[in-house]
Symmetry: C2
Subunit: 328 residues, 2 copies
């Protein structure tokens, strides 16, 4: 959606952080991890800008607020932190400082309370684009980092992927996305309770896949000093995404419907699901227990192996993934 | 500078916060005051947007970063908190994600380290306007709130006022502000150490005057349930502001030079000085000690009295102040 894509943005942020040297503390995971007077905290911020991350025609004010807060709260989930409070800095064009802003703040508060947090404060200014930055703070006594994956561990993902990207593509085509797609884009659920469960069941490394499965898998692999081998056939694609793509794919399309939906699942952002590395003895029975507890699938999609980077395999052959997009 | 002025913005924020009910915790001062596992924290965020709070032609990237961070850190000073860390969410137009962004982050880090804090994290996205939200976290074991002023206390202000507004007005006229004015706008100093000293010397209530002296005095008066009587003749106006205004005022100007510079001091924002209420026994000798310690004047400008609101007196007569602007 934005030319300053996730991968590029990550590089830019890393370059700027690199220049800060010792002035930068606690970074390297989805949330900053710091200790204040013996209390371990996780903190993150997420900035959402109109026409870059959403359009006003797509979402209500309340959904814009929810979505921005959920994105930041997802960073706390990614380190298995317990959300405590949020601060919201909001910029709005003239005429939106009344009911629109109030509804937006309600959406932020709704998302916060959905995971046991409260609103601690905020700021409101004039801006040309609706702009929402949500900063979240959580307790993180035993955080799960990106860096704990070891060869032999399993790679798992929560949920079914592809729906948010399908919603965006429908909107961009001038269509109305199906309610199932729209809901996944407009009301993403930060997987806070799921993350706590996963930590209790041995999670060795974790990241949210807000920048897309393959891109974020790359960040986790790099932090852990390992490679991730992902089996494309095991990636859980949202069933409605498969169905819709099967209908829409033109006969002359260069890719088969299954390829299109798989690409959405592998590279589409805005998922806010968890990519988690679990020990070898974490098996199907444990995943079923997760599924029953949260009404959400937990799927093993690959293995941690020696090496570096992310390999996506299909039928034993490597699928090239370049720049966050997969070329089938 | 923005039509969504400080007073109006404050009302909008208060209205939205009012709807949150029990979902809002810790608000009411310049920084949110919360306790996490026995540790008292102060948190605040400040959002700065190109063409609303600054123009790219006025400031370097590094100054934009410094200024945004200093504004947020000033909120910690206002409650006498000890800054620990900052998170920076930055939006930039295409082409500014490289050196410009890195310099901006350096400015944020400079401001943080100037008061003993570090950078904990950040976010970078594409936006049409350069957008910087800085969230700050500090230790606040014994915060000074807005609500502690009592009749009989003295009203004091740090620094000399009017220079930031004079800089903005020079730029808006297409002129180059004098270095002294420019510095006060581009590199505001969060009064963190000064605030700690003031707390140790009995500060009963405090607020920063980022929204202008009279407007912020009104917030303090309301929180304390008192009135503030400010003597216009005592308000410390930056000497260069007085000098420049004396030269620039046209003969036909409706206001005398002294009135114009006083108006800037009373209502100009972006000061980041402290308005502090000190007990009756805090006198000139103590203020001199402050001045020697910090190289900054501390001036008694009025009294806390029974009642509500802010009265600005000149020669015993009340000066009407409406909507953040003074009408002489």
């Amino acid at each position: 959606m934005t030319a300053l894509g996730p991968g590029n943005e990550f590089d830019r942020l890393r370059a700027a952080f690199g220049r800060l040297g010792a002035r930068l503390v606690g970074a390297g995971d989805d949330a900053a991890l710091v200790t204040v007077d013996g209390v371990d905290l996780a903190l993150s911020c997420d900035l959402a800008v109109e026409n870059e991350h959403f359009r006003l025609a797509w979402l209500s004010a309340r959904e814009i607020g929810w979505r921005a807060a959920a994105a930041a709260l997802s960073d706390l989930a990614a380190v298995a932190a317990d959300p405590l409070g949020v601060l919201a800095a909001v910029g709005v064009p003239e005429g939106r400082e009344g009911e629109f802003f109030q509804e937006l703040m309600e959406g932020i508060a709704d998302a916060a309370t959905s995971v046991g947090a409260v609103v601690w404060g905020g700021d409101l200014v004039r801006a040309a684009q609706v702009t929402v930055d949500v900063t979240v703070v959580g307790r993180a006594a035993r955080p799960v980092r990106r860096s704990g994956a070891q060869p032999g561990d399993g790679v798992w993902v929560s949920g079914r992927l592809g729906a948010p990207r399908a919603a965006v593509e429908a909107w961009e085509r001038g269509e109305t996305p199906t309610p199932a797609f729209r809901e996944r884009f407009a009301r993403p659920v930060p997987r806070v309770r799921e993350a706590t469960w996963l930590r209790a069941h041995g999670a060795a490394a974790m990241i949210d896949i807000s920048d897309g499965l393959v891109g974020d898998a790359g960040h986790l692999a790099a932090a852990s000093g390992v490679a991730l081998a992902i089996d494309a056939g095991r990636v859980p694609v949202h069933s409605a995404v498969q169905a819709v793509q099967a209908v829409q794919a033109a006969p002359a399309a260069p890719a088969a419907p299954a390829d299109i939906s798989l690409m959405m699942a592998l590279t589409g952002g805005e998922e806010y699901e968890l990519l988690v590395v679990l020990p070898p003895d974490f098996g199907v029975a444990a995943a079923d227990a997760f599924g029953e507890r949260f009404g959400l699938p937990l799927t093993r999609i690959g293995d941690v192996v020696e090496g570096s980077g992310v390999t996506v395999l299909r039928g034993g052959k490597s699928v090239p993934i370049v720049g966050g997009y997969s070329h089938f």
